[in-house]
Chain length 201, copies 2
């Protein structure tokens, strides 16, 4: 468990809400979105693990990200169980431009690299949280909708944890200024709906 959930109600990371067109696209392609969701959970575990590897002396970061990586892996497992139940085989899916578009914003030099990595992860988690909520609200299959609702309860902690880590290693003004820039990019990346149904299309 990530012990930073208290900070969440005050965090408003996303500049613009998801457009209704995404909800329509996702609901019309639930299996593909579920398969993409599986890849997202695995990649999210990888992001946490890579950061733990890059900053091995940062104890608070290592502790928080170990918990996040574990939770992402357990979600990966749950999503894969849903895929199996729906007889959707695991297979690669080309990623939408969202993740690469955000990663390009990460500066190469420290300490900017650390701040940007934490904030980009926070934004992706915040957007995932929002979209799982939309799936929970609009999915016409009650059991699957309930699954998304259950995931949200723990997903909600992740973007808070990344944001708290950013404010642990950087002063609040620096964090807020960079967050404003990155969240503007994040919203712009989603202005045009990606033609392939994805969690971040």
């Amino acid at each position: 468990m990530v012990a930073v959930s208290a900070a969440q109600p005050r965090i408003q990371l996303l500049q613009t809400p998801t457009a209704p067109a995404w909800v329509e696209q996702a609901i019309a392609h639930l299996d593909t979105v579920l398969l993409d969701h599986s890849h997202c959970e695995r990649k999210a575990a990888g992001v946490a693990l890579n950061l733990m590897c890059r900053y091995p002396s940062s104890e608070k970061l290592v502790r928080a990200l170990t918990a996040i990586a574990q939770e992402e892996l357990s979600h990966f497992e749950l999503v894969n169980q849903w895929l199996e139940r729906r007889q959707v085989s695991l297979r690669p899916l080309p990623a939408p431009p969202y993740g690469t578009g955000l990663s390009k914003q990460i500066r190469r030099e420290e300490p900017g690299r650390m701040l940007d990595s934490l904030l980009v992860a926070a934004l992706i988690e915040a957007r995932s949280h929002e979209r799982l909520g939309l799936l929970a609200a609009h999915c016409p299959e009650p059991e699957l909708a309930q699954f998304y609702r259950n995931l949200m309860a723990s997903e909600a902690r992740h973007y808070g944890a990344y944001w708290v880590l950013a404010t642990t290693y950087f002063d609040r003004e620096t964090v807020n200024a960079r967050l404003a820039e990155l969240s503007a990019v994040e919203s712009t990346l989603l202005l045009t709906l990606h033609p392939e149904p994805r969690v971040h299309s």
Copy 2:
């Protein structure tokens, strides 16, 4: 839990046992070995996750390695709790030549790349298992010795899981022939004791 433990009693992956000099070196530098052990657990989670990412359509592999990655992360957490208790700060440690020496043996083209990756992971897990057992047997601090004994019970499954995956995707003769080559390299890499105390020095 990795559901392949039944195959283990028949697996003898290592060609030569660890030399007594390693035990002496490790017991004389318990804190450093514990810190290195922390890095090993995190890296082992990374190896499992990378393979899941490289072979996303291989359902059995994905399932077994998700369980392994989760277990490695939980061991990482346990080792870090021991480091905290002993007031050893997390910090990077230069790796011994063992891991790089084994990785160099992994062929770049498929399907050899997959077979070699699974067998190299199996060998590293088998050697780790053997060495945790030596620490459990020789550590003069009873609680730490008990910790190593506890870890071994689950670590024992990992090399079995990698070996079973190899025989799932490749025929037994191919696996045994390549294992003989790789385990010879593995033993050779440990012939000379690395001057820095490490799990794989």
